[in-house]
């Protein structure tokens, strides 16, 4: 299994641990990730609010490069995934639009390859059975609130792989890792990541609802498939708690990190030690760190 890999800007910066854990688990599952050389920013989230053509052309260039290699594209970031799927749909739905895109990027993009969310690839292409077989340290007793946010599932005609109102991919993945997904009502509510810099007051209110919802559902932690949501959920937890006279301690994970833990990689090799909300106490209390079958990175 080989994919063109589009990490996107965040995975090379604030979403470092997503990149790290993605590469670890992909290798572990025998998936070859060919990072698109020279990839450019997909424009999320400013381009589509500024210029419609720019918003499809920026991601299309990356897709065109992958297409030349005959590869489907694996996209971990939900925002990048959404913009790239939108570009792919634009090119497929209108020949005129495809021509426009090609004129702008100076390449012949035919949209013959498929753009997939990394989560989709894991759950539906690799398959949960295969993943479950690789689990050596099941996440027993870990109650996880799967947080999907907006761009992984909406609009459904663009994103396509899961239900827009009650998505299940991550819940099922968590279950196949031995963890316990909790049913909670805020899994698709916006976390306001787009507003955290410009209108922190808005983001704070949205985050508060999500934290309270997860806590009320008895979750030990949150799991995310988006570096923007992740940073927002992880970095601002203490601050939002303060603003709302509450206190939250909900570690946030990337789903790839949970996979890596279940495959017995050391937290450090997955980047889990770099989170804002400390993770160690939870993992220790669930005895998920004790058994030293821990795998070291092989290279």
């Amino acid at each position: 299994m080989k994919y063109a890999y589009y990490p996107g800007c965040s995975l090379h910066a604030t979403g470092l641990e997503y990149d790290l854990s993605t590469r670890q688990v992909a290798k572990h599952l025998g998936i070859e990730l060919w990072e698109i050389p020279d990839w450019n920013c997909c424009g999320a989230s400013a381009a589509h609010n500024t210029n419609h053509t720019l918003a499809v052309a920026l991601p299309a260039r990356n897709l065109a490069i992958a297409e030349q290699e005959g590869l489907d594209v694996a996209v971990p970031c939900a925002a990048c995934f959404n913009r790239m799927r939108a570009a792919q749909a634009a090119a497929r739905n209108s020949e005129a639009m495809r021509q426009t895109i090609n004129d702008i990027i100076g390449m012949d993009y035919r949209a013959s390859n498929e753009t997939c969310a990394l989560l989709d690839i894991m759950v539906n292409r690799v398959g949960l059975e295969t993943i479950a077989e690789k689990v050596v340290k099941p996440l027993t007793g870990l109650k996880v609130a799967a947080y999907y946010g907006c761009l992984l599932v909406r609009p459904p005609e663009i994103t396509g792989f899961d239900d827009p109102e009650n998505p299940q991919s991550m819940d099922r993945l968590v279950a196949s890792l031995g963890g316990t997904p909790v049913d909670w009502p805020f899994k698709i509510e916006c976390c306001g990541a787009g507003h955290t810099t410009t209108r922190p007051d808005i983001a704070s209110r949205l985050l508060y609802r999500i934290y309270s919802g997860a806590a009320a559902a008895g979750a030990d932690c949150l799991v995310s498939a988006c570096p923007l949501c992740f940073l927002n959920l992880d970095m601002r937890q203490e601050q939002v708690g303060r603003e709302h006279n509450a206190s939250f301690s909900l570690p946030v994970f990337y789903f790839t990190e949970l996979m890596g833990l279940a495959f017995a990689y050391a937290p450090k090799d997955l980047g889990i030690n770099r989170h804002f909300v400390p993770v160690a106490p939870l993992l220790e209390s669930k005895e998920l760190l004790r058994h030293p079958v821990t795998r070291r990175e092989e290279t």
Partner: protein, 462 residues
């Protein structure tokens, strides 16, 4: 119901389905399958010992899944006829270790239980047929994820709410939450679920919901002291005699009407949060409800496609049976002798249904008032000399009016038999489809012959 059961001119056939309809107006021959009840109707006294003792519990369709029935059952106490049936797909006698369980047979004092009973297929003749197949509810659980896809037990349909209010229903007429049997203090009603929703449901208005929701709100306020009823609506449509007054009465009793479609329902503690907008105020609202009642769209009764095909009635884009003219012939169909009554023609409330049923009855009586009826002469005829007997016209006829018949023909040196098309003048509606299909020009439509049509063409083209 009792009146119909006791009328000397009415013969009731329950647990029966129409399998085939042949013939034409005044002369239908209908094949009916009388499904095996597994109970001898004449012997049964309706005492009820069988279902009392039956060990197999099944979710009750009649109680809208709010209660259970047995595998041998009458749907409700006043059922007509008061004779149980065995639901063979759930009965232990039929499903497990074949023949072992015989509880009902053993306890029946009248020896009426008959496991060997078979379906009976009978043919009967009729002069007219009235379609009154009714409606079902839109399967909201499949479409509305934002309302929980049916996973919250305290989000129910209006029909479930009716069952709860009914004195012979699963709660004996008490309004309670299905999840914990507690009496709800705050009940939210959501209208237009599946109705007026092109994306997830149906574009049409289901017409009866505004009124029954007003009634439901009244029932909540009437039965539960200190309760609150919130009604989320898009428009209140009460254009009937004494209808708007009825709605206003609910408002005066304290029902709070909020104009806006609900975006989402989610659980918080043991409440259901109902998120809407009061569009009149322009403000988001959240109601913490104990029970949510959805006014789900009316859709054609399950199996509508099959019965429409069997009887030969046209359907509209939503599967409702098509009337011959929306204004001038509202209870007739395109098939002579077949009439429509009730919600099978379109969503309707009870007063409208009764009115339409009366209209259908009048049409039937007017047909039956004569011993013979004249038929329109503008129908197809076959020139047997030109007909090759290819049969192409048979399947294209939407009224099943053409069949092949064998004729004797004299040819040089003797006689021969061959097949030709034959038009049944009782069935033919003069639509002309056969004319178009006929390769040899043997079929013509009287009043629209090739000669006549070409004369028209010549005038404008030559």
């Amino acid at each position: 119901m009792v009146a119909a059961a006791q009328h000397p001119n009415i013969k009731i056939m329950t647990y029966a389905e129409v399998e085939q309809v042949e013939g034409y107006v005044g002369n239908f021959e209908v094949t009916i399958r009388q499904k095996a009840r597994s109970v001898d109707v004449d012997a049964c006294t309706g005492c009820g010992s069988c279902w009392e003792k039956c060990p197999q519990k099944v979710t009750s369709e009649f109680d809208q899944e709010l209660a259970q029935r047995k595998a041998i059952y009458t749907p409700f106490p006043q059922a007509v006829p008061n004779v149980p049936v065995i639901d063979r797909s759930n009965c232990r006698h039929f499903t497990r270790e074949k023949g072992k369980c015989r509880v009902c047979q053993n306890v029946c004092p009248a020896k009426a239980v008959d496991y060997e009973q078979q379906d009976q297929v009978i043919k009967e003749k009729f002069g007219a047929i009235v379609m009154a197949t009714g409606y079902d509810l839109f399967p909201w659980e499949e479409a509305y994820g934002e309302y929980g896809y049916g996973k919250y037990p305290d989000v129910i349909t209006g029909l479930q709410f009716e069952r709860m209010n009914n004195a012979s229903g699963p709660t004996g007429g008490r309004i309670v939450r299905p999840s914990d049997a507690k009496v709800p203090q705050t009940v939210a009603f959501i209208k237009c679920v599946g109705s007026r929703d092109e994306v997830k449901g149906k574009a049409y208005c289901s017409r009866a919901c505004c009124m029954y929701t007003a009634k439901h709100a009244h029932q909540v306020l009437d039965k539960i002291p200190g309760s609150q009823a919130y009604v989320f609506y898009m428009d209140v449509r009460t254009p009937g005699k004494a209808y708007d007054e009825f709605y206003q009465k609910s408002v005066h009793e304290g029902a709070v009407y909020l104009r806006g479609r609900v975006s989402r329902i989610y659980p918080q503690g043991d409440k259901l949060m109902v998120c809407g907008e009061d569009t009149l105020l322009g403000r988001q609202v959240e109601v913490a409800a104990d029970l949510v009642v959805l006014a789900t769209a009316m859709i054609p009764s399950r199996g509508w496609e099959q019965i429409a095909r069997t009887v030969g009635v046209a359907t509209d884009k939503d599967g409702f049976f098509q009337e011959a003219h929306p204004k001038l012939r509202p209870v007739e169909t395109f098939t002579a002798g077949v009439y429509l009554a009730g919600a099978c023609q379109g969503p309707k409330d009870i007063p409208d249904t009764v009115a339409q049923a009366g209209a259908a009855a009048a049409k039937v009586c007017s047909l039956f008032s004569r011993d013979e009826m004249t038929t329109e002469p503008l129908i197809s005829e076959v020139n047997e000399r030109l007909c090759s007997g290819c049969g192409l016209c048979v399947p294209v006829c939407p009224y099943k009016a053409i069949e092949l018949k064998t004729i004797q023909e004299r040819i040089p040196g003797g006689q021969r038999q061959r097949q030709v098309a034959s038009v049944n003048s009782g069935l033919c509606q003069g639509c002309g489809a056969c004319n178009v299909a006929c390769r040899t020009g043997a079929v013509t439509l009287k009043g629209f012959t090739d000669d006549q049509l070409l004369a028209e063409v010549d005038v404008v083209c030559l």
